[in-house]
Structures are given as structure tokens and as C-alpha cells.
Amino acid sequence: MRRRDLISPGFLYYALMAAFLYLPIALLIVFSFNDGRTLTFPLKGFTTRWYEQMLGTRELIDALWNSIALGIVSSIVATALGTLAGIGVSRFDFPGKRAFLALASMPLVIPYVVIGVALLLLFKTINPDLQLSLWTVGVGHVVINIPYCMLIVASRLAGFDAHLEEAAMDLGATYWGTLARVTLPIAAPAIVSAFLSSFTTSFDEFAVSFFLIGTESTLPIYLYSQLRFPSRLPLIVALAAVIIVASIILVIFSEALRRVGRPASRTAEA
């Protein structure tokens, strides 16, 4: 990008939009250090006591651990299933492929309220006395993450020579050996990226979790429950700030991975 493009209207618009997108979250981070109990201007001074209070709040820490554990487990499952589907879809042709693609992509666009409600009904139908728990939430998280995992992996594999697996088998590897030696290594950045994306999504997820949560809380659920207590607001804001920063780091890492070693990278030099 040349220097004069930096002051072009295009870039200004981009910068404005980026500012618009980041301003609210920057605000939250700023307020998390504000020495005051309400979220109003002017700022009242710098403090870290909300963070300290955060560390001392038992339910918050529990919810945090729950979210982390839930995130890791559900992401592993979603990534595994999504990777299998991604490999199958990008390398094979089979009857019902289009139907499967449609089914696997639907959770992406179906409103989360419907997904949450439908799963609730499923669980209650199987066993009316079923206790909702983190496990039921986890199921919901896997469902909503499978499409993106599949798309990332399939998209990455599609960028590579279709004959690579054949070449490996021609050289003596079994199909499963080929998966291990060729397909999975090539897909690795996408798989890790899919895992990180799933984790981030699961960690932040609220709309579906709301319907499937039991007595144990996840962080977003906990956060929501505290919103009705005005006195708790600064604590919430501090928590929000932590989540925001952690998410940013994870997402940047995940996006960088997605672009690693891409065979066909294009630039738009006009």
C-alpha cells in the first residue's frame, strides 16, 4: 500500500469503522480501571480493585473454570468431527454429499434460539427428569461449531493438489497412513485454527447455553445473571475486560494460523 493511499478516503473510512468497532470494547477496558461504582463520565481515578474483587469472587472463578473446561472439551469434539467431515467433503464424492453439506452448514444460519430450544426439548423428551448441566450445554456448543470447523478444514485442503493422497498411496502408504503422513499435517494449521475459533465461540456463548444450563454456570451466564445488580457492574466490566483481551489474543493467533503456508495467496494490486 503506497503512502498516498494512507490518506485516501477509503482508508479513512476503514479507520473510522475500525474505531467504531473497537471503541465500545475499549471503553469497557477503560472503565474496568475506573474507581467508581457507576459507568458514567467523568472517570474517577485509576484502580485495580475490581480485578482483585474478581479474583475473590468464588462463583466467578467457578464459572471461569467451567467455561474453560467446557470450551476445551466441546472444541475438541467439534474440531474432531469437523475435521473428519472436512476431509471427507473435500476429497471424496459420495451419494448424499450435498444433503450432508446442507445439514452441516445449517447450524450456521439457524437462529440460536431455535437450536437451544430444540435441544432442550430433545433432552426433556429422552428423559423428563434429566438434569441440565454443562454436558447438555456442551452438546449445543459442538453443534454450533461443527460447520465452521468443517468449512475451515475443507477450505484449506481444497487449496492443495487433489493428487497428494494418491501419490502417497502410490508410494506405499495405506489410506490411514496417508491421513497421518500427508492429509493431517497439511490441514494442521486449519485444525488448530478451528479449535481456537470453537473455543472462543464456546467461551463466549450465551444464547444457546441459556436454555441448556443447569446449576453450574458458565462465565457468560454468570455475567448475565449479575447484570441486574447495579452494584456488581464494575466487577462485570472488569471481567468483560479480561475476556475481551483474552479473546483478542486467541483470535489473532487463530487467524494467523489460518493463513500459514497457504499455497495460493493473492494480493489485490490494482
Binding site: L27, G88, V109, V114, I146, F206, T267, A270
Partner: protein, 286 residues
């Protein structure tokens, strides 16, 4: 050939099973519930269509559904209009920086939805940023509460959430345009603006369509944002469903309402796929 069938089965069965049992089956069960007389036994075993009748009679629900569709439409249009210049800038002007700048744009999209709406509560609240700013600038005398807890607040918050998602498919489509087409247009006499309207814009329409639907479809069912910043006037269709399931415990009616929305969504998806077959790959491709 047998080798291949076994491999395909081994690869595809686990995800297929999960999706069928834990995604498709729930939808089917929900459909079944819509024909039940009540949430729990003994009403649950009674098969009836009265829930549908209830829904059809409840014009308030219809109105709310239409309002929600309207809100979703406004949000989607705003998103693609606002996102287009960004996508254009990234695809045509940003050169080697485009991936970095795109990532910067995407990052907020991945940050907790809940938190981002919360941030807007801060900004729009009666003592929030906007009001404080207006007060200190002398434009108004005291905090105006109408900014928050209204349908407009919902729209603003949703646009904020969805702009990055609208930008992605538009960017994908623009990036895919062969630059040589623009060279040809110039060669044939087009000024840059003309080339944009005659070549670039038409070719980017699939991305626009994808962006529109990607925002529109989930927004119709929104309930979290209305709950947090919508107040009474900002209530949307999704709020009713949530209420029916959590507070009123009227699952059959809730199921009916969900199915109505689901049917709407599926129709939209069908329209989208017809209009823009590449759409799905656009979403993941960038």
C-alpha cells in the same frame, strides 16, 4: 471401490451421526411438540392442532414477527451498505496489508457478543458516554433515557455486532474479481467510476447477497440484544419464544412459534442458495 466406501463411511459417519441425532432429531421433536396440548403429562400425550390455532389467533404475535423481520431487514441493509466501502478498500486499495487489516476488522466480531452489547448499554445509557458527551457539549441538559431501551438501540447494537460478518463475503467476492476485467473496461473507454458501476458492482452482487442473508437470517430470531437494550418497545419475536420456554413453560406454543421462524429461515436459505450458489464458500473463504 470397496476401500473407498469404507473410508468415506469412517470419515463421514461420526459427524453425520452427531448432526442427525443432535441437530436434526431435536428439530423433529420440536415439530412433534407443536402438536401437543400441553408441556407436561397428561396433556403432553394429547395430539392436537390447537397450538397452531392459538398462534393464528394471536395477531399480536404476527405483528411482532413482522416487526422483527423489519428490524432484521433494516439491520442487514445498513450492514451491507456500511460494510461495502470497507470491503472495497481492503480488496482494491490495501495491497499487501489487506490480510492484516482484515484480521483487525474480524477480531471484534469474535469477541463475546454479550460483552459487546453490554458495551452499548454503557454508551447509550442515561448516564452513558453519549449522554455525558452531549451534556458536556451543552447540547442537552440532562441524560436522555430514550437512547437506550428502544428499537433503535437494538438496531444500532445489532449493526455493530454484524458489520464484520457482512464485510467478509463482500470482500471475498470483490477479491475474486479478475483485475484484467477492469483493465478491459478502461481500454474500452470507462472512467474509474463508470468501471465500478458497470463491472465491479455487478460482479460483487453475489457477495452482497451473501452478506445480506448472513445477517438477516439469524437476526430475525434475536432475543438477547432486545433483552439487554431493547426495553419494551424493542421486544422481538425471539423474546416471546424465550419467554414461553423459560417463564411460561408453554412448550407446545413455543414450538409452534419456533417452527414458524424455522420455516421462514429455510425459505430464505432456499432463496439465497438459488441466488448465490457460491455464498457458503464466500463465508469461509476469506
Amino acid at each position: 471401490m470397496i476401500h473407498e466406501r469404507r473410508r468415506v463411511a469412517a470419515l463421514m459417519l461420526p459427524p453425520a451421526l452427531w448432526l442427525v441425532l443432535l441437530f436434526l432429531a431435536p428439530m423433529v421433536i420440536m415439530a412433534a411438540y407443536s402438536f401437543r396440548a400441553g408441556t407436561f403429562e397428561p396433556e403432553r400425550s394429547i395430539f392436537t392442532i390447537e397450538q397452531y390455532q392459538k398462534f393464528l389467533a394471536h395477531t399480536a404475535y404476527h405483528r411482532l414477527l413482522l416487526q422483527s423481520i423489519l428490524v432484521a431487514f433494516v439491520v442487514s441493509m445498513l450492514c451491507i451498505v456500511l460494510a461495502y466501502p470497507i470491503a472495497y478498500f481492503l480488496a482494491f486499495r490495501a495491497g499487501s496489508l489487506q490480510y492484516t487489516l482484515l484480521t483487525i476488522l474480524i477480531v471484534p466480531a469474535w469477541i463475546s457478543y454479550l460483552l459487546r452489547i453490554l458495551a452499548w448499554k454503557v454508551i447509550l445509557g442515561s448516564s452513558g458516554l453519549l449522554n455525558s458527551f452531549l451534556i458536556s457539549a451543552g447540547l442537552i441538559r440532562e441524560g436522555s433515557p430514550i437512547l437506550l431501551y428502544s428499537r433503535d438501540a437494538v438496531i444500532v447494537a445489532l449493526v455493530y455486532v454484524w458489520i464484520p460478518f457482512a464485510a467478509l463475503p463482500i470482500y471475498s467476492a470483490l477479491q475474486r474479481i479478475d483485475r484484467r476485467l477492469l483493465e478491459a473496461a478502461a481500454d474500452l473507454g470507462c472512467a474509474p467510476w463508470e468501471a465500478f458501476f458497470r463491472v465491479t458492482l455487478p460482479l460483487s452482487v453475489p457477495g452482497l447477497v451473501a452478506g445480506f442473508f448472513f445477517v438477516f437470517i439469524p437476526t430475525v430470531g434475536e432475543w438477547v440484544t432486545p433483552t439487554l437494550v431493547g426495553g419494551v418497545s424493542g421486544t422481538m419475536y425471539g423474546n416471546i419464544i424465550q419467554d414461553l420456554f423459560v417463564r411460561a413453560n408453554d412448550w407446545p406454543l413455543g414450538a409452534v412459534m419456533s417452527l414458524v421462524m424455522l420455516a421462514l429461515v429455510l425459505v430464505q436459505i432456499a432463496v439465497f442458495v438459488r441466488l448465490s450458489p457460491r455464498g457458503l464458500s464466500d463465508l469461509a473463504g476469506a
